[in-house]
Subunit: 110 residues, 2 copies
Amino acid sequence: MLEKTTRMNYLYDFYQSLLTPKQRSYMSLYYLDDFSLGEIAEEYNISRQAVYDNIKRTEAMLEEYEEKLLLFHKFQERGKLIVRIKDLLKADSTDTTTIIQKIAELEKLD
Amino acid sequence: MLEKTTRMNYLYDFYQSLLTPKQRSYMSLYYLDDFSLGEIAEEYNISRQAVYDNIKRTEAMLEEYEEKLLLFHKFQERGKLIVRIKDLLKADSTDTTTIIQKIAELEKLD
């Protein structure tokens, strides 16, 4: 569950601009502010089931956007490469060839 | 016009997965294969006006996605930083601090 929450937080971060204001409100209360479905229902004066359905649909939309655009995936890959480049730089390596290789891999991720 | 074509080619590249198959066909014939509106109309047996309207709508959609997700903008910014990092590396600079700074700027673009 924690893993799913983390993933949804990232997907929400990347794709929130493609959601409707209502979807954004529910998702942000549920995932960022840790409200329960019941609390959100009360806040908006709708049924718990309606909140649940909306959040489930939004989660599916976020996964669909990720499948199409891979922003979270590329973010993770870039992150790994950047850690590697920093390590090489910190090691005061004169191996600039490897660093340039890693940078070329970074560019390919665009 | 050339500038617009280049921009549309990039936006198409970044967001084509969010378009419908029909939108993709028209856009790819018009922008990548340099077909005229008339030629596309003939190919699909529809009016030139219908092709024109579809392409205009798709262009507007691509600009809207870019406004929301900034993928092309970030791609350009990352590109500039990477050129700068490569220059620093090639100059055999021992100034790793500046390189690490540039890499931190890269990370902020995600």
